[in-house]
Subunit: 221 residues, 2 copies
Amino acid sequence: MTSVDEPARTGARTRDAARTQAEILDVATREFARAGYDGARVDEIAAQTRTTKRMIYYYFGGKEQLFTAVLERAYGVIREAEQELDVDHLDPLAAIRRLAELTFDHHERHPDFIRLVSIENIHDAAHIASSEMLASIGSPALDVIRRILEEGQRTGLFRADVDAVDLHAMISSFCFFRVANRHTFGALFGRDLVAPEQREHYRAMLGDMVIAYLTAERTAV
Amino acid sequence: MTSVDEPARTGARTRDAARTQAEILDVATREFARAGYDGARVDEIAAQTRTTKRMIYYYFGGKEQLFTAVLERAYGVIREAEQELDVDHLDPLAAIRRLAELTFDHHERHPDFIRLVSIENIHDAAHIASSEMLASIGSPALDVIRRILEEGQRTGLFRADVDAVDLHAMISSFCFFRVANRHTFGALFGRDLVAPEQREHYRAMLGDMVIAYLTAERTAV
DNA sequence: CGGTTAATGTACGAACCAGTACGTTAGTCA
DNA sequence: TGACTAACGTACTGGTTCGTACATTAACCG
């Protein structure tokens, strides 16, 4: 979520297309995450940049395309983070716990991203569907899970009837819910799931849950 | 989500306050769930009822209060459902699986409710906070979980370091994610988490997960 | 160094939308 | 039965908000 990469070769602040676009995306990400797609105001986004509304339409075409661009960049960030994943040197048990913890950490560190995903689901993932980039982005995390799972299942340590996508859903659901539903859960049950002092507790709970599930004997229905 | 209870004693359709209010709430629930708070249109809600926009303001005061009323009724429905919970005759293991399954079923049957909760979280649970009813609604399900947990922990069957709120969060997160994030998950990973043919698979997965976690030996960090 | 174009700013329009002023009718009760 | 009030309808308004027409300037290139 940091802004620009090219500080413009001269000190001059004017006429820097890349920087203007990046700044618009930064602000738009915050505004859309704050208020939702329909709640976000194009004028408000413009006001928070050093440029004008005109530029938003010049570079992105419209509100809808701007939101899609925001999503594309946000998913790009997590994709990059997932590519950093390095758990191959660990045994399956430690590897899967580590992966779960990194997912946990990532969700906690990017609440705006979580909100964007919630918002996109309210719109039935229409923007993802119409984005070539997003439709084909893939998931490095899924590949990692697949490898760990294969190893664990080969040695008989893990139950055989799980696949990578399901396990990813299980881990994500816990991490996502904790951040996304923080407000209603807190208001209704009086417990802040994202309180710093409970962080380690929930992190361990996730790891325990995943490992317990993977190593459990098949229970009867 | 069925509409009215009093079919009006005469066949006359006019002048039935309770029915008008219920009809507005029905339609508003759908419209808010469909488009989000800011995306929903008061005119559109009015158009889908047999009455006019004037009545919405007459009975509810405004868009904001209407949304709060929608939330209040939606939470009222799940509260009633939870009061039907009857698992006390089962042993702790069977009871907790049954409870998880009922939660699973309820989420699946009420996707509009899930969307409303997502929407309310985007607004930082502001409406819940300002509603006396919602702030004090409580949760029968939580009481049930508490009882099961106590029994299971007393006999040493369940691990001791879980409390009812955390377990409720764990169960809810799986059920909620599956419905709420169905669209983005499907678009990105090509798997429909709510596909009917996968229903039993995920239902069993949830039960297995919860039981495995509760009965696991404390694993090392 | 003049011209071409990418980049930017200003001001405005047209549609939309929450909310309301004002008027009307159905039921009810004395 | 007449008057009172709850319930309802119509038509409008004032502000908001996405989007754009038009004007301008900086950079680059031959």
